[in-house]
Subunit: 200 residues, 2 copies
């Protein structure tokens, strides 16, 4: 019993550390435009998105695993912070190093068996290889675009460099293998241009 309670105490400490993800600010605004979203609510929205759009995944995709990956994918930001998706290659490498350190530190708060399970899920998402990680990544690439330029959006004046062509080039690698979602990207970008909230 004592061993059990020590194990549970470690898990509780981990969960309370993870509470800090609610204070990590992202570059994406809420759909209302009222404030920047944080990484915790962003992770929830992605998990909901996986439950809602699961039919567009590749055949045989384990959607429960997609949800797991999305719940866990941003946890390392508790330590490492968020970065904009269009940053330089050097910045990305430095960020990857910081995130690996953060993952070792954070998941190391868990009992060893769970440290390994959570770490493997995070690495699976980062590797973008499994059907589950690829679908998770596609949703992750799609959602900020819907919040910023989807129906009812107020648009974003903060990124005038994101033209119709540039957005498509950035979104294509993660989304092109999902035909319905890729068509949605094209339609969303086209409408944002028509409505004047994205440069043509």
């Amino acid at each position: 019993m004592l061993r059990g309670m020590f194990r549970l105490e470690a898990q509780v400490e981990f969960l309370l550390t993870c509470d800090r993800l609610k204070a990590v600010t992202r570059t994406t605004l809420l759909h209302s435009g009222e404030r920047a979203e944080n990484s915790a609510e962003h992770s929830w929205h992605l998990a909901l998105m996986a439950l809602t759009l699961g039919e567009y995944a590749l055949p045989g995709t384990n959607l429960s695993r997609v949800v797991e990956l999305l719940i866990l994918h941003d946890l390392v930001e508790v330590h490492a912070g968020d970065v904009h998706f269009d940053q330089s290659e050097a910045g990305q490498e430095q960020q990857a190093r910081r995130e690996a350190e953060a993952a070792a530190w954070l998941f190391g708060q868990l009992p060893p068996d769970q440290r390994d399970i959570f770490g493997a899920a995070w690495q699976e998402f980062e590797a973008r290889q499994s059907p589950e990680a690829r679908f998770a990544r596609a949703l992750h690439t799609l959602l900020p675009m819907l919040l910023t330029w989807g129906p009812g959006a107020v648009g974003s004046a903060a990124h005038p460099e994101l033209t119709f062509q540039r957005v498509q080039a950035l979104k294509q690698p993660a989304l092109a293998e999902f035909p319905e979602l890729w068509e949605l990207v094209r339609q969303t970008a086209a409408r944002a241009v028509t409505e004047g909230i994205m440069p043509g």
Copy 2:
């Protein structure tokens, strides 16, 4: 293809409506005490909690289903708002009616097959009968307590009526069937009293 895109458009509208959950404020503060948490980040934290504490569920519990229930459980607040767990019976009945209306409105934005699936998940959580709903409810009852009185908490001066005995009476129905979690409730409450952040 057109039918497919109409379906996807309805799903996107639903997901953007759900973005409003990020603006629904709860009575629980972040563990840091810095601000009230919102229902979207709260739902994420509960889903993470289910992944972390799954070993304490009843044997045979489908943890993926627990995660689903927790991701969806607060969605009706987009329309109906949050309430404190210690409210009157009359207030609870009115809230239940408002939530049922909100569920019909919100899930009605989805294609009919998904409206029924999401609605059934929400009702399963509310009914507190299945092993999955009971574990989800236990976590839901436990987490605010950990945020408010767990290790490192700043405590809450807002609820002086929540004494050691009162908290245990309130938490007992949802948690007593999970012995490790119930022991955690008792230890957490006892320590909060010792540390002077909960009346004895």
